[in-house]
């Protein structure tokens, strides 16, 4: 029976997740406390969580439910984006439970079973549960097997109206560290959960500005006709961080910038920029186009001239003296991990043949910025004196993903004066700081989509495997080379990174 109070024309009513609960593994982690818990509070504050929504924490801590509630409380107080309201808190806190135990502990998992059943009864979560694995990947196998063993992942039995309760699992990157491990992970997850119940979070896809790439491309008339090799000279995708590795040494060393960022965030951005128009924005149609374009990626024959990697050395960054990568805590002196990676990729499609895509990412670079720049070809003929266009560069369309979210169009304009002189100017569209303030954070959007069972923003296993197929040969090539080239912290990376474009007669934008 359809609900007579719902009507597709009633656009004010928000999409509220149906009755459900979430089990969070790894409640003491940074990500859980800085992102997941605050996002849950913010969703509740916006009225998007169902009444009775429950959160079960699982960790090796000697905590009672109240201690767990206190941890969530502190995390929410410190990191939530919406204001703290006592009544929202009481709605949520009623549904907090904590189960102590490690990942091999059968008794603890039995306790977890009892807890979620009790919540179905007392809070009306109706058997719908999400398992959020906010834990290091090495623990995935243990947890997933335990979920299976204790029947937590089994499909539930239909209720009075024939609705079958759902089970979903959420994992964060890294999705493996190469093709082999990625496949192992996919097999492990999909042995226990059907593919449509596995939600891989790449938080970049939850960002408004990333989703706006699709709106810009496919809702407008004047971009698509020039979105091809006839007009575009090349594409630059940059994700730069100003911070070092901080306390992530244990995770980062041996992984490096390419696996950490390039393989997932940058390739997803490339896919959204380069893909053909999907038939619809339904998950399957969207993923079909992303997979198609990812499978068209071709690595240049000579990896030595088509890739660059670097490692930050001590230097000055934004007025602060900072140490080099090798001096960071717990980094071995013989580490060969790169903190900067750049690659040149080409796409074997009619639209993009001959248009290089330059991707770069790094830590301790000039400033924190993520952007995608489409740089246009020069005009075939300039009917001006050579001196008039000396300062005219190439037109560019730039998606500023973060910070200063927005779009920049760069084009030539006459300098006001009696003589003819053309110079580059920028036209900006800004979401504006305060405008973005009220838009939901990426994690809110993704957690809500997961609870609603809407998968368009989550990469599927095939996308993950395709991106490792691209990166594995590069990593293998780098493994045969010496240590990465040092670059001073606070600069835009090693010379080899600049040389990558210089060889093609191009330069990186200063983002």
């Amino acid at each position: 029976m359809s609900n007579p109070l719902r009507d597709p024309r009633d656009k004010r009513l928000p999409r509220v997740a149906g009755p459900c609960g979430m089990v969070l593994f790894g409640v003491t982690g940074d990500l859980a406390q800085k992102k997941v818990m605050p996002a849950i509070y913010d969703l509740a504050n916006r009225g998007l969580l169902p009444p009775g929504f429950s959160l079960v924490g699982y960790a090796r801590r000697d905590w009672a439910n109240e201690d767990f509630a206190q941890v969530v409380h502190d995390a929410v107080r410190e990191h939530a984006r919406t204001g703290f309201r006592e009544e929202v808190w009481s709605q949520l806190a009623d549904g907090f439970r904590f189960v102590p135990g490690d990942f091999a502990d059968d008794n603890a998992f039995e306790q977890l079973c009892k807890t979620v059943s009790e919540l179905d009864e007392s809070r009306g979560t109706a058997g719908n549960r999400a398992f959020y694995l906010s834990i290091p990947p090495k623990f995935f196998p243990d947890v997933v097997r335990q979920l299976k063993k204790h029947g937590l992942a089994d499909p539930g039995s239909p209720d009075a109206s024939g609705r079958v309760p759902w089970r979903r699992v959420v994992v964060e990157k890294p999705f493996g560290s190469d093709l082999t491990t990625a496949r192992e992970l996919n097999r492990l997850l999909e042995e226990v959960f059907p593919p449509h119940s596995v939600f891989r979070i790449d938080h970049y896809l939850g960002k408004e500005t990333v989703q706006n790439i699709l709106a810009m491309r496919f809702a407008n008339q004047f971009f698509e006709p020039i979105w091809n090799r006839a007009y575009i000279d090349h594409v630059q995708i940059t994700m730069a961080e100003d911070i070092g590795i901080g306390s992530r040494a244990g995770y980062y060393d041996g992984i490096g910038a390419a696996r950490d960022v390039l393989q997932n965030h940058l390739l997803q951005l490339l896919a959204l920029i380069a893909m053909e128009e999907p038939v619809s924005f339904k998950a399957d149609d969207l993923r079909a186009e992303k997979e198609k374009v990812l499978s068209a990626i071709r690595l240049p024959a000579d990896l030595a001239t088509a890739t660059a990697r670097g490692r930050y050395a001590a230097g000055w960054q934004g007025g602060e003296k900072v140490i080099g990568y090798l001096d960071e805590h717990a980094i071995p002196a013989d580490s060969r991990t790169e903190t900067y990676a750049a690659v040149k990729l080409e796409l074997d499609t009619r639209r993009w043949a001959g248009v290089p895509f330059y991707l770069r990412t790094g830590k301790r670079l000039g400033r924190r910025v993520t952007e995608v720049a489409l740089v246009f070809s020069r005009v075939p003929h300039l009917p001006f004196e050579a001196t008039a266009v000396e300062e005219l560069g190439q037109n560019a369309l730039v998606f500023r993903i973060q910070p200063d979210e927005g779009v920049t169009l760069r084009f030539g304009s006459k300098v006001p004066a009696t003589s003819m002189e053309v110079r580059d100017v920028n036209m900006d569209f800004d979401y504006g700081d305060s405008f973005a303030e009220s838009s939901p954070e990426a994690y809110e959007r993704l957690i809500l989509d997961m609870l609603l069972g809407e998968p368009p923003l989550f990469p599927r296993s095939r996308e993950v495997e395709l991106s490792w197929e691209m990166l594995d040969p590069i990593e293998a090539f780098w493994a045969t080379q010496g240590p990465p080239e040092d670059y001073p912290a606070g600069t835009w990376g090693p010379d080899s990174g600049d040389e990558l474009l210089r060889r093609d007669g191009r330069t990186w934008r200063r983002p």
Binding site: D10, P51, R85, V88, S434, E437, S438
Partner: protein
């Protein structure tokens, strides 16, 4: 720093707006709309402030129109605030005196941002027929607030009689969270309600609208009960096997109970004006569901008139 202009004109105000923009380094938020606010009188400071805050989500130029038809001298005074001074958007306060007060549109038209939507908002007693108002006619969306004046039931009937696509009222906006929770509650109920009750403090226009909505959507009689408030306090829907109850007595936290479930707390805050306006500005197309509620009111009136 604001610019005060006395005995001025729309073109001088436009010049002042671009001067302010230049002084700030030429940076403007990409304004997405012009919001006309008709306050008539000086005592609407809080409403103007709340509206200015909405520019955070909806960067807009806000034109506050204050009409003083009883002044003897005819003239226009204005105060111009650049973006960032009274909120993220631009703000112009217009004082129209004497005969000019009856021709506010002549001042407003040149100040509208080109080719972007216009919204008119009456924070006080709005006109019975907003789309016939000269300033209402300029806009795609006309926001009134039944709760701000007296005789809410009488004015609700007048609004229903004159409804035009693009009309909306904050008394309806205030219901969104209630409607969302009630819809969610019925998501996991498998029988059809047979009757309902809406309780609120006396003269609450939102309660009337909620009763109309429930009655129209569910095809059931919905009774009205009076309570001590604040605002809406309770909705009960009778089912063959029990009752769905949503009760809020403190204006903040509600309790939801339905057959087969324990009572569950749910945050249901009375939202402030800027939150309500923010919701209104998110959509500028006609609100079909609101229109249906008003149509139900018209039908009821006609039926009662015939009897």
């Amino acid at each position: 720093m604001s610019t005060s202009l006395s005995d001025t004109s729309a073109s001088e105000i436009n010049k002042a707006l671009s001067d302010v923009r230049r002084a700030h380094g030429g940076l403007t938020a990409g304004h997405v709309m012009t919001l006309i606010m008709i306050t008539d009188g000086h005592g609407n400071g809080p409403e103007v402030q709340s509206t200015c805050r909405t520019a955070g989500e909806h960067p807009s130029r806000i034109l506050v129109v204050r009409r003083h038809p009883n002044e003897t001298c005819v003239g226009l005074d204005a105060e111009v605030f650049g973006a960032g001074e009274r909120g993220p958007g631009e703000l112009v306060i217009l004082d129209l005196s004497g005969e000019l007060a009856w021709h506010a549109e002549s001042v407003v038209v040149p100040l509208l941002i080109p080719d972007t939507p216009v919204v008119t908002f009456w924070p006080g007693n709005g006109p019975d027929d907003p789309s016939a108002d000269p300033l209402g006619r300029l806009s795609q969306r006309r926001i009134t607030d039944l709760a701000a004046g007296d005789d809410a039931p009488g004015r609700l009937a007048a609004r229903a009689a004159h409804y035009t696509d693009g009309d909306t009222d904050l008394a309806w906006t205030r219901l969104t969270l209630w409607r969302s929770v009630l819809a969610t509650a019925l998501d996991d109920v498998y029988s059809h309600p047979t009757g309902g009750v809406v309780a609120a403090e006396p003269g609450n226009a939102s309660a009337e609208l909620l009763a109309m909505w429930l009655s129209a959507r569910l095809g059931i009689p919905v009774q009205r009960e009076e309570s001590t408030g604040p605002g809406l306090t309770e909705v009960r829907l009778s089912l063959p096997d029990g009752e769905v109850t949503l009760r809020r007595t403190d204006g903040r936290l509600a309790m939801l109970s339905s057959p087969g479930h324990h009572e569950r707390p749910i945050a249901l805050k009375r939202r402030d004006l800027s939150e309500l306006i923010n919701e209104e500005l998110r959509r500028l197309d006609a609100d079909d569901i609101y229109a249906e509620c008003l149509a139900t009111i018209r039908e009821t009136e006609t039926r009662e008139g015939a009897q």
